[in-house]
Symmetry: C2
Subunit: 567 residues, 2 copies
Amino acid sequence: MAPVRPICSFLSTLRSFRNGKNISYPSGSFARNRSTSSHSRERAWWPWNPTRNFFVIPAVFILAGATFSLPRSREVHAESPQEPGKRLIRLEEVHKHGRDAENVWVIKGDGVYDITDWIPNHPGGEVILRAAGGCIDAYWKIFAIHQKQDVYDILEQYKIGVVDPRDLIDGEVPHDHVDDPFSSDPERDSRLIVHSKRPCNAETPAAEMEDFITPNKIFYVRNHLWVPRHGEDAAKDYQLTIETYDGEEKKYTLQDLQEKFPEYTISAVLQCSGNRRAHMSANARTANGIQWNVGAIGNAEWTGVRLRDILADVGFPVGKALDTEARHVQFSGSEAYGASIPITKAADQYGDVILAYKMNGNPLPPDHGYPLRVIVPGHVAARSVKWVNKITLSDEESTSQWQRRDYKCFGPNQGPNPDWDSAPSIQEMPVQSALTSLKYISAHSSQSQRKWLQAYGLEEDSVLLSGYAFSGGGREIVRVDISADDGRSWQQAELLPSDAKGSRAWSWKRWRCILPNSQVGKVFVIKAVDEAYNTQPDGYEAHFNFRGNLTSGWMRVENKPVKEVSE
Amino acid sequence: MAPVRPICSFLSTLRSFRNGKNISYPSGSFARNRSTSSHSRERAWWPWNPTRNFFVIPAVFILAGATFSLPRSREVHAESPQEPGKRLIRLEEVHKHGRDAENVWVIKGDGVYDITDWIPNHPGGEVILRAAGGCIDAYWKIFAIHQKQDVYDILEQYKIGVVDPRDLIDGEVPHDHVDDPFSSDPERDSRLIVHSKRPCNAETPAAEMEDFITPNKIFYVRNHLWVPRHGEDAAKDYQLTIETYDGEEKKYTLQDLQEKFPEYTISAVLQCSGNRRAHMSANARTANGIQWNVGAIGNAEWTGVRLRDILADVGFPVGKALDTEARHVQFSGSEAYGASIPITKAADQYGDVILAYKMNGNPLPPDHGYPLRVIVPGHVAARSVKWVNKITLSDEESTSQWQRRDYKCFGPNQGPNPDWDSAPSIQEMPVQSALTSLKYISAHSSQSQRKWLQAYGLEEDSVLLSGYAFSGGGREIVRVDISADDGRSWQQAELLPSDAKGSRAWSWKRWRCILPNSQVGKVFVIKAVDEAYNTQPDGYEAHFNFRGNLTSGWMRVENKPVKEVSE
């Protein structure tokens, strides 16, 4: 039996949150600055409730130094028939207080905690419910941000007892009650360069980036959480919910989508906003986040159905999107991730936003969103939500931290606690380029390498450079300039032809340049120009941003094999 | 009577050009590389025929060093009953050989020339017909490119006689036969900084650029030719021709447009691609063209009708533009200018391309396109064709030099005779910013200036900087970074609120920054960031292009009144 505790008012608050009712908030809210309609407030609590007055954790994995603090207007009630923390509770009893129970309990160590009141304030949102009715230890190991005294202190206030010693083995809760959220993560190709395993963040090695299409197995993996459990029947059982602006819901199975809407294939780059962050850290100051080299980017063919067609099917006037009150399309992934894009992009007849079920002609791999993901070509990959199961039309952006915090850029002087609202969420990306291969070719090289000398009519020993260039918003790359003398003089790389698909230039351009050894100095420089004639900034320091997003300073490479500079 | 000359085959060739029939071309053609359809060829001769094998003059006013040469496959026939060049011809006779005559004659000095055969090869296109039946001297004075021996030699081959001495006064053709194409040019505001008078190129002084809306009188003027004759009845008599992809024509009076289509107002920047060219010349190398400072840009409210609505009215499927063969929309101005934009921009529901008849609430001034001009917001102003009288749907770009030559950017190592086709025509513009005002404020300043100290809570003597920032493609400016120490440290300028109109961010952002004198060094630096997080390049040399287009390096300003640096 659940203990009776006088926290009814909190419970009713929680229920209000869960049921989407409009309730009053303490001052200093975050979402309210962006939208004051009751419509938006009703949605704002999930997956991360930003309408509370506490310090927010910008990136649970990444940002050290953030702290939890309690909402101002709250008091902690921790009464029970026994002295708090002394009551013995059987495991069986804890299990009854799962995510759907009126009171939600978790175990930490051998302590039992009623976190009902904390859930709406949890910076990580509903993810906390994964531990409901069980042990939270595994999650706290994963999300290292929790391993701080501040966090322990918060939890301690919700303690209602300890696990009955009769249920402990060697003084610990048996491991079979610990749910590892990463247990569904797939095996990965050993060629990937792993930056973190849980969640998996791994980049494509430069040596594997020679082709226009990046193979599925070595496509970079950027997971914010775990890979959701989707068995082989997932495609059959899958259901996508579309919530209209009026709050009505319409559901589609994957089969519905495939039967109802025309199939559409585009080729498109996905690029993590942190791609080349290591170059920012090396050339300016250390930027927060995973220190990606040049491989947090890939180009694939994506096949699926157009989001625009689906929106039209639920009655949204795609031809007159700005005549409606909807301004954003929010995507939710089944693991808890969320993000959104502007309605104009979703409704654009040439925006090519698709819900993809194939990657390079095969079903999506688990790491890339099986069975269904969003592809928002030309936008930062953080908007191409994987394992998407809900799409919501709204007057405001997704309230997730990945929309409102992590994926923004600030000035070189700003941080680490900027006015987050003062910068827009990253959507379209700026012009970018990188070198991925540097090979020396001489008369002693293999025939396959020497063919390049013949192809370009060179008789001397030479160096062959190649790489990629890309710009956001479908803006085509029109020129790649290469300097072999650290930027003093320039020449144009050859832009390689490709079989790009889609209404705009969503794919990267591969480029190649071969130079006689006698003409090269100590440092190569690479920079690109897109069709709006935007160019990359020369340096790093003046474009530094503390999150290290969208690093796009000129790539400088020493005149030695790329292996040594890219690892 | 017209003399009988055995040039029938050339005449039939010319007529074929004029009637748009398909004829064969010599090798080495230019348009053919871009489009081989008979459809495009039929249109390619006007206003400038690029399908001939001669050197092309990139900018009639600007580029020195270009040369005329005859088409390879041609011979000059200059036979007449008398010895060529000796025949005496009365002025009355010359006047009969105007633009509509079978044989077109012109006078140069006292020589008479039958240029019928030359017209289709004239790099300046049909403009040459303005001199038909009269004297060409005034035009050659205007278009200084003609004042070269090569050009005289070409003309000499077409000589058929001299003006009868009975019609000469003091040995010259009377001046009343010289038609000045600039006679319709209006008076201009004396505040404009004039770079050239004929054609008029004049920029807005920085001191007059303080407001979100640039007043009509001081809006920069960038004319490629003259201001066409449009009397006060022009609006009544005006007729716009739309040529569909199938070659059908539909005509609209201005009244038709206003009655048939909803009126639409946007606020939008027009910026010449040469804006800030003087900064490129000063910081890298001298770039070809008018040495504009920061004033070849302005922001106005434009009222008119949507091009998209008109295209729909002539039967073009605007919702499925890419399903058609049309790829470009070509605009022709009544003075001879021509340019085009991609069909996707014209058909975009949020592209906001309009045919404007009002500028800031008043009828368009003559210099800005009265009675009708195109406004292509977010694109370089060279595509917002003034005095538009014809719009053509085509599978290729406008064949004008302003589309295929002048308005392109090449690498810092390229020029002055690059592979013109290797770079795309400038359409959308990159991110840009400039300082337009620098004021020193102390206790001795006027009350209106001292109010800034109060507004920002400053008690020391200070410096107030302000200016504009803008990006193409409707990408909003999200940040302006200011350095008061030559780029070593940065802070953010205040972005001023404005009443921008339109589907996207077509207007500039005005910005302001006030700094205590004690915190400023010798050099200020200004740079901006747009919503795609594109930034401006730090320097100039690596972004140099010989045409000096789209100069967008960081603006550096010495710490002294802007008047001294901007003039």
